[in-house]
Symmetry: C2
DNA sequence: CTGAAAGCGCTAACAT
DNA sequence: ATGTTAGCGCTTTCAG
């Protein structure tokens, strides 16, 4: 923290023997500048080790080169969800390439009425935002507020409520259908589902895909086979498993709507002497890295989490450049077969 | 993106019938303001839905309420290290409580000569920074640059090079000693180590702790028992394991200097028919969440990753408030015994 | 192609 | 206790 005198655009101008507006011009490289002059300025910049003040630029031009990430999840929730982490990773990658920085605004630790990110969103500080999908109920007017801002924003997830918006999400319906079809092809007839109620729309889509495939194959839908895993977490699922397995007509396969929850099922099975996949097939959704190294390795539906982050930023950049015709990007999913799935046992 | 006219401090002042400096005063709440006036202003703010421009405030006051996080890791590397993620989570939690935002600057995807974060660091945009430990060799003058800035910064990790600095890290030495002592008490005499060369200082400390305990117990140190896992990753460790296990006098226990690498050992063992812990004891370092649910659950050294993030920010805030006497915070570690460790086999 | 000058929205002396 | 005013460092017309 040595007191290095702040070097401003004036210093550069003085050194190069030009006006500050000329310096500004070579910096923005939008206007034409004489080659010699440009060189002089560039040299001065290098010699003085000058870096423009983003704050000043922000106030003068209205642009900050900063994109906001709005997370309805707390840092801790984010930490425990590799899929969301991968989304963020993808966002950062593209932003990096374009010399944009990411300003992260998460929900508060305690669920306050006014999440801290709202203030940020409206502080004229960002050029655009990526908003992680929220149930409207959780933040009633987040989207309304957003639509009042002067910058573009895209939802990572499904559009919510009445506000028209740009979004990117995976093809959850298709993914769940394929997985269900695969399980049926293995011989399973009673397939339990661990869903997440009242959270993200993705869970609903996955259950819908499951139901549709059941119907398509002429299999009955048993409502009691779908239980609530609460919050996408391993623990939540672990607690929900008994509702599925402690009954005479237990399912021979369990489809958890994300991998973390599938791990909870795996854990329960292990602790209760059930062999996977001999006694019970367990599958997840996401294909987080840990899915490949769990025991047994998890059969799951791959969702290109990092790529989704890429797409969200690319869409945002298009909006920043003046618009796009496609308001929704849907990325595809695929079933990844590993060792946690197999035919049902002879008799359960 | 409806064009809502930007509401400024002037609008508020006009509405409340006061001057802009009065508005500024109630906003900063530092100076005393008449109760009635304050109410008027507050009402106007609410009615107009006013939010101050952080950019303008930044340029006028020199403070932005933004803290920078400098990561020498790429987003992808960050993604694959739960310990680092937890550090960040901790940072965000405290920042949130204080209404600060986090600006993340990571290394580029391709390892460029001039990492993108350097520009950010010098752009007068942040009030302070948390810098994840980097080997000086990787970014020769990052620390020099930092020390020329006008804001305080703290290292999450060990101090590097000649620049005096504030830092917070775990007691790696003590942790590794305790773990080694535990393994010796179990009966192990030949303990392999998977380290990470030329990366973070933490790895060196852990190996040092291992050697010290060996010496303390009068056991010989066999240099060939320490191999390089390259990059802290599961794959890196997986590839290094053969050097330890494919030899007649193979170690009966392997201590990987982080959990991810321990998983690589677990995987190798499983694929080569070695039972853990019956045939081989495997332990890690960090105690990331997955350590509790791996198969078998991993014995490891707990490092309070989230708390380390907390400490880093607390230290930074102290610096922001004018200084502190302690320039280094060391958080303690502890051995967590799970199922991956046991006595050595009768004969190997 | 270059420079002068007017802000951008706010804070912080300094007056009143 | 409140208002006036001079910047903060930059971009951006508008002249030259």
């Amino acid at each position: 923290m040595t007191e290095t005198p702040k070097v401003t655009i004036y210093d550069v101008a003085a050194r190069a023997g030009v006006s500050i507006s000329t310096v500004s011009k070579v910096l923005s490289s939008s206007t034409r500048v004489n080659k010699v002059t440009r060189e002089k300025v560039l040299t001065a910049i290098k010699q003085l080790n000058y870096v423009p003040s983003l704050a000043a630029r922000g106030i003068a031009s209205g642009r900050t080169s900063i994109i906001g990430l709005v997370s309805p999840y707390t840092p801790l929730q984010l930490l425990h969800d590799p899929h969301l982490q991968a989304n963020i990773c993808g966002i950062e990658e593209i932003l990096n390439e374009h010399d944009y920085a990411l300003l992260i605004a998460t929900a508060n630790r305690e669920h306050e009425s006014a999440p801290s990110y709202e203030r940020l969103l409206r502080s004229n500080y960002i050029d655009g935002a990526v908003v992680m999908e929220t149930q409207e109920s959780k933040s009633p007017d987040l989207h309304r507020q957003l639509s009042q801002q002067r910058y573009p924003w895209v939802i990572l997830g499904y559009p919510v409520g009445m506000v028209p918006s740009y979004c990117v999400h995976a093809d959850d319906l298709q993914g769940a259908q394929s997985m269900t079809e695969y399980l049926i092809s293995l011989g399973h007839r009673r397939i339990g589902v661990i869903e997440v109620k009242d959270s993200a729309y993705a869970s609903e889509e996955r259950v819908r895909g499951y139901r549709q495939m059941l119907a398509q194959k002429g299999l009955p839908f048993d409502k009691s086979l779908v239980v609530d895993g609460r919050d996408w977490s391993t623990e939540g699922a672990y607690k929900a498993v008994p509702k599925l397995l402690e009954r005479p007509d237990r399912p021979t396969a369990i489809f958890a709507v994300n991998d973390c929850m599938a791990f909870g099922v795996l854990q329960y099975a292990r602790e209760h002497g059930l062999l996977v996949p001999e006694d019970l097939t367990v599958v997840g959704f996401d294909d987080i890295p840990a899915a490949a190294t769990s025991f047994p390795p998890l059969t799951t539906i791959r969702q290109p989490s990092i790529q989704m982050g890429h797409e969200a930023i690319k869409l945002l950049f298009k909006l920043l450049e003046g618009g796009t015709n496609s308001s929704r990007v849907v990325v595809s999913t695929e079933v990844v077969v590993r060792a946690s799935s197999g035919p049902p046992p002879e008799k359960v």
